[in-house]
């Protein structure tokens, strides 16, 4: 409310006390439910002021204005303005064109009938009933004879404010901003038969990092913070780019530090199956399969960490986040500005204070329990995956297959009756099968638990135990299993991790399949004879 009172107070030139205005406003808005803008107009009129001079609640900010608007009320600082004489329909006419800006954007303007000399650089000028046209897909403000404008505030000691990069739109000119040079390189281009050196790289502030091109050597150095006046923006490949022209002024700011520069790039939209180690600035949409909160001590401070599993139609991924997170199982969310770090080779989605998490209304197709089909080389490239499905040939039954004993405390496999951690213990008998499967693109170690081992071999823990006791060795059982399963094709699903020896799958399902051959062969045959031109 206070700013509205202040707005009316300044329009009325101090003729009416603030307290009186506030009382009026409360009456209009509070009691009679009149909207603030119309209440203000009524009050100003009542006290003999000009309601058109009100600014707050009437005006749009420059960033909100689009091309082709019929009646625009706006105000902004004049970045520059040049009066010119033109001849229109045989008559000489004086016009003023230039650029205005506020914190949300900048816009070229032309006052088509400029008789006075009121407007100068730095002035805060208000426009009423102007209209916009389009200039390079950007709105341009036209101030006709039907419009009004006045200087609301003269520029006595005006200092132009630097824009935030996030707020800069494409095709703006004469931009002032401050940013940190993240990277810079030089390249020679041919300009009108002349060799010309341009400098290009990345520049960013807390809000955004973009590519820039400097059309002359400003002596830009990596890591320095600069104030650039007179830059212009373009859009290339859907990305905002800043250009420093020969006339731009670049000043190194020694005392200014930008600590947390935003990550570069338009957030990349990714499906879960496309996530790879090291990716940053991602947008991922998915449904929360599970989520839990943990309190963690970080340098003496307690922080909340959220972790869980996110799924889309292509797969599942674990996530961890260090920011407030009020979502629960079943919610569909969009994470913008997330990044990937792998754990044991499996990509995990992370997000932090720089990321945004929002709820999505749209339904995501996630069939419960469905797993994603991978060729093994794709898993190798990825480093692993949650709930992956592979179909491959069993090429080895590994050592460790058969009867084993586990530590009753930690469940680790005992070696010669001893646990690595708990020493000699009375082990619990277990039966497992360890396989190497290979699909022609790569191989992985598959670990099958007792239930799966019993199903695929037809043995039980008891029969394995007896057989092992008879032969006094694990090998006989392993050899028998090998003779049953070797070279058969198996479909496995489970979580896949990688270590120094390769990929490991902890299988959640395992079944023998008879691969369909003829259809695949026919397709291959057709492709082959076509490339042969037969």
């Amino acid at each position: 409310m206070k700013k509205h009172v202040e707005d009316m107070y300044s329009v009325l030139g101090g003729k009416v006390e603030r307290e009186a205005l506030e009382k009026e406003l409360n009456l209009f808005v509070g009691q009679y439910k009149v909207s603030i803008p119309s209440a203000k107009r009524s009050i100003v009129k009542k006290f003999g002021g000009d309601p058109d001079s009100l600014s707050i609640g009437v005006e749009k900010s420059i960033g909100e204005i689009s091309a082709g608007e019929g009646s625009v009320d706006v105000s902004g600082r004049v970045v520059f303005a040049t009066p010119r004489e033109i001849t229109a329909s045989g008559e000489k006419k004086r016009i003023l064109s230039g650029l205005i800006e506020d914190s949300t954007g900048s816009m070229p303007f032309t006052i088509w009938d400029y008789a006075s000399d009121d407007v100068s650089r730095g002035d805060l000028v208000a426009f009423r009933n102007a209209y916009t046209t389009s200039y390079r897909e950007k709105p341009q403000l036209n101030v006709s004879s039907k419009s009004r404008f006045w200087v609301r505030e003269k520029a006595s000691d005006w200092k132009r404010e630097a824009r935030k990069i996030k707020d800069i739109q494409p095709n703006e000119s004469n931009i002032l901003f401050e940013g940190k040079i993240i990277s810079v390189a030089a390249r020679t281009i041919n300009s009108k038969g002349e060799e010309k050196e341009i400098h290009y790289g990345l520049v960013g502030d807390e809000t955004k990092t973009v590519r820039f091109t400097a059309w002359k050597d400003f002596g830009l150095g990596k890591g320095s913070v600069v104030r650039v006046e007179g830059a212009y923006s373009r859009e290339r490949n859907g990305e905002l780019q800043l250009n420093f022209s020969e006339k731009s002024v670049v000043e190194k700011l020694v005392d200014r530090e930008i600590g947390s520069v935003a990550r570069f790039g338009v957030p990349r939209v990714c499906k879960v199956s496309e996530l790879r180690e090291g990716m940053g600035n991602l947008t991922v949409t998915g449904r929360i399969v599970s989520v839990s909160r943990k309190e963690i001590e970080v340098q003496g401070q307690t922080k909340s960490m959220y972790s869980g599993v996110l799924a889309d139609e292509t797969g599942k991924v674990s996530f961890t986040g260090w920011r407030d997170f009020e979502f629960k199982d079943g919610d569909t969310i969009r994470i913008t500005g997330g990044y990937v770090r792998s754990w044991k080779g499996v990509p995990q989605l992370k997000f932090d204070d720089k990321s945004e998490v929002t709820r999505e209304e749209k339904e995501i197709k996630v069939t419960a329990g469905s797993s994603s089909v991978y060729a093994i080389d794709a898993l190798e490239e990825r480093g692993g995956a949650m709930d992956a499905s592979v179909t491959a040939t069993i090429i080895e039954v590994r050592q460790g297959t058969g009867l084993i004993f586990r530590c009753p405390q930690c469940k680790r496999t005992l070696k010669l009756g001893e646990c690595r951690t708990h020493g000699p213990v009375d082990g619990i008998a277990d039966f497992r099968v360890r396989l190497v499967v290979d699909d022609g693109t790569g191989s992985l170690f598959a670990n099958l638990n007792r239930e799966l081992s019993e199903t695929i071999t037809g043995y039980t823990l008891e029969s394995v135990r007896k057989r092992t006791e008879q032969t006094l060795s694990q090998d006989a059982v392993a050899a028998e299993i090998s003779s049953k399963v070797l070279f058969r094709t198996m479909k496995l699903t489970g979580n896949v991790f990688s270590d120094d020896f390769g990929l490991n799958m902890f299988a959640s399902t395992a079944e023998f399949v008879v691969p369909e051959v003829k259809q695949r062969a026919v397709v291959l045959f057709q492709e082959a004879i076509q490339t042969l031109g037969m």
């Binding site: 200039y135 300009s191 006339k247 490239e381 022609g440 191989s443 070797l486 094709t489 695949r520 082959a528």
Partner: protein
């Protein structure tokens, strides 16, 4: 890292004379085939036709011949391949078998290299399993042929460039090595081999004859490389060049006036200048001025 079992036909494998040693103390041995398969371990299936045993200094050595649709693999198993040796003693030829083993080379004289398979495991399989292997091997061979085509088109072949075309990294490396080592690889010969191998799978040819379409003509799309200029853009580029006498760029108003004088409608001027900006042909050194790059 455990080595995967490459699917490869006898004809391709036996044409290899390139052995590569990599890793710590050159402990990883690979055979690079003419199609760029990088083989330490391989899996093959075929008809076991012969088994022989010999007494050597290192004990009994079994050798076997396994024939696939393209040729014959030489397979051996010695005292250290106990399971494979045992299997070979229990199988009588002819029989469909599968073999997993390591690629070996031996060179009886300078310039001659023979390859063979040192078996880790051998077992009898069904004909269906063999057919599945033929199918898998055709698929992998076709991938290698495409990778080799790419490698031969690049001069010199660079693994990174081939990988960027969507070829798996391992194959891209293998194809690069093969293209450097084997100068004359007749890829169409290998394509023919794939066709013949697929023909050996029962029912494939019959199914194909009915539905084999005439080779579809690839429609010729107009090629635009994204920098081609429209007629108006070309005209404007000339105008901007002409007007740029001060080297500070041509003034927008002047461009507009000149263009309109040359019968280019106003809105087309704006559109064309936008186009030129996008294509990087001009830039705006200061507001309202255009300059050619």
């Amino acid at each position: 890292m455990r080595e995967m079992a490459v699917r490869v036909f006898a004809a391709e494998f036996n044409s290899s004379d390139y052995e590569l040693r990599e890793g710590e103390e050159k402990s990883s041995v690979y055979v690079i085939t003419p199609l760029g398969a990088k083989i330490n371990r391989l899996m093959l299936m075929g008809v076991l036709t012969e088994i022989e045993s010999r007494d050597t200094e290192g004990g009994k050595l079994f050798t076997a011949q396994v024939t696939d649709p393209t040729g014959t693999f030489r397979v051996s198993a010695g005292q250290y391949q106990e399971a494979a040796s045992r299997a070979l003693q229990s199988i009588s030829a002819p029989a469909f078998v599968a073999v997993v083993g390591k690629a070996r080379t031996y060179s009886p004289e300078e310039g001659t290299v023979y390859v063979s398979v040192r078996a880790e495991a051998i077992a009898q399989v069904t004909q269906e399993q063999r057919d599945n292997w033929v199918c898998e091997t055709c698929s992998e061979t076709a991938k290698r042929i495409s990778a080799m085509k790419a490698a031969f088109e690049l001069s010199p072949p660079v693994a990174e460039s081939i990988a960027r075309m969507g070829v798996p990294k391992r194959l891209a490396e293998g194809a690069t090595l093969a293209a450097q080592h084997y100068k004359n690889v007749d890829l169409s010969n290998y394509r023919g081999m794939v066709v013949e191998a697929l023909r050996s799978i029962p029912g494939v040819e019959d199914a194909t004859v009915e539905i084999a379409p005439a080779r579809p003509e690839t429609p010729q799309l107009p090629v635009t490389n994204g920098t081609e200029l429209t007629e108006v853009e070309e005209k404007l580029l000339i105008i901007i060049g002409e007007l740029d006498r001060s080297t500070r760029g041509a003034e927008w108003d002047e461009i507009m006036r000149t263009a309109m004088g040359r019968q280019i409608p106003e809105e087309q001027v704006s559109l064309a200048v936008e186009g030129l900006l996008d294509k990087g042909m001009v830039y705006e050194p200061v507001l309202g001025r255009m300059k050619r790059i």
